[in-house]
Symmetry: C2
Subunit: 312 residues, 2 copies
């Protein structure tokens, strides 16, 4: 426990799933003394062993129900498609008064999957930290991942206010700013801010991957001209993103329809040589970049301040 | 002149256009002593004044034909749609034996626009440095922009070999690796590596910009979940990119067709809930990211090593 935090927020925290998000939580909790005891469980025995080698927790349990037994806070950090199975598995071990949360990228589906299994007296408060990198697994996590990033909580109408307040304090102690939102609204907003960008990135990299081998090697060689930006998102965890697509389908398909309509109009403007239409679009998109930088959500340094590109 | 370079590669270099690329060339030439004298000309008098304030050259000429008079190397760094007008304007001033090159993102169109104006005895060698940031103008340039980046030359069949060799040495002295390519092949490769990514980025940011105002503010707030990556490319110079779209139309429309077909297939997979199809695509795209990092064309640091995201 860190010396600057004499009383931890929670006595025992159980982490179910120990990938990028789970292992970052383990590290920040340890570093900032947010829990007296951290218990870790994950489905893969190899990953659990790796978490133990990294000393990410105080106890390591193959059995998820055992892991959550006695925990005051249980954080499920698994691909969203596994949420229902995990909830079912841990339900017998959950103690009355415990808080159960998750970090999934879709919220309505997670609620539908988990809520039916949550025992009475357990406070289920779905959540989603807007933080991550393109890397995955327990080695990829780091304690400062959540610093300055938003975490969205989507409590159900009947949620216990004190439990929401305490979970809010927990995420703030992890470095996050916390926002509360309706789950369906979350799914709409994330469809455009996160799901559509990832799907488009996967798609464009797939298009390039289908090119003839000699052209493909040139795509890699000259990727600094724009393409490489997309490959980062397209290197994200495939299981996580498969599940996001399957579990936020309607909002994603709606955003894909808008995107495709706009792209059709843009193609037509290119085909017809409508320079003014192109110039107008390419001008108004600049304003959004400025807003994002002003909001502290990206660096103003050119080229993301890439290490490979020396700065002025 | 830098002390480590007793003899400059060129006596007098004229820069026509002094934006990100032109001003980076001015800075690197000065820093590495690649020219005895740098003459700068650009259409906008405000930009020319700014270049003078920044002391980017030895002489500043409003008249482009005057600027190139006596120059051994002339580098045209303007939006590709202006190439023909610039070639026509400078033609009377070009001296026999001079090398004329450009930095445009499309090559066939630039050749078609410029070649008819090039006087006999002037060596016209089109070029394209694969380097840049999302910033533009004379303040945005920096001397190390070309370090480790490719520069593609697309000499015509009748090109003077000695002039090509000397221009190659110039770009190498600027820090670049040089590749020689057929102009049409260049336009095909850049359509996928650069033009398509920029157009897709502009399009997705435009789609977000069309959302209702309250949703849009949330898009900015939660942009770190993926969206912000696209806003960088979509903040690039609108005139430059309008001209790229107008001047590499056929190759761009071909790549947009491929992209759209693939996206239609991906939408169908999402609609039908075909998890295996999604997982397969999301897995094979990872390999391209690895190849790009292995080729030294991007940083392996998570999140591009963004300054706002502390590293592990």
């Amino acid at each position: 426990m860190a010396e600057n935090s004499p009383e931890p927020l929670f006595e025992t925290v159980a982490l179910i799933g120990i990938g990028l998000i789970g292992s970052s939580l383990a590290r920040v909790m340890r570093e900032r003394g947010l829990a007296r005891r951290i218990v870790i469980s994950t489905r893969s025995s190899a990953t659990l062993r790796r978490a133990q080698e990294l000393a990410l927790g105080d106890a390591f349990e193959a059995d998820a129900a055992e892991a959550v037994r006695g925990a005051d806070l249980v954080i499920v950090s698994v691909p969203v498609g596994a949420s229902g199975d995990v909830a079912k598995a841990i339900a017998p071990g959950l103690k009355p008064g415990a808080t159960l949360t998750d970090v999934g990228s879709t919220k309505r589906s997670v609620i539908n999957q988990m809520a039916p299994h949550v025992p009475a007296g357990v406070h289920f408060i779905p959540g989603h930290p807007i933080a991550g990198t393109e890397h995955s697994g327990p080695d990829a996590g780091f304690a400062t991942l959540f610093d300055g990033r938003w975490c969205i909580l989507t409590p159900l109408p009947e949620a216990n206010a004190a439990a929401v307040t305490k979970l809010t304090a927990f995420w703030q102690a992890c470095g996050s700013k916390v926002d509360v939102m309706d789950p369906d609204h979350h799914d709409t907003v994330l469809a455009i801010t996160s799901h559509l960008p990832h799907i488009i990135a996967y798609n464009i990299v797939g298009t390039a991957d289908d090119l003839a081998t000699d052209t493909k090697s040139e795509v890699i060689k000259f990727s600094a001209s724009g393409f490489r930006d997309f490959t980062r998102l397209a290197a994200s965890d495939p299981v996580m993103w498969r599940d996001v697509c399957l579990h936020n389908r309607d909002a994603i398909l709606d955003m894909l329809s808008r995107f495709s309509e706009d792209l059709t109009a843009l193609r037509r403007a290119i085909r017809r040589g409508e320079g003014d239409t192109l110039h107008d679009l390419f001008t108004r998109t600049r304003a959004i970049r400025r807003s994002i930088i002003d909001a502290g959500q990206d660096t103003a340094a050119p080229d993301f301040g890439r290490l490979t590109t020396p700065k002025p």
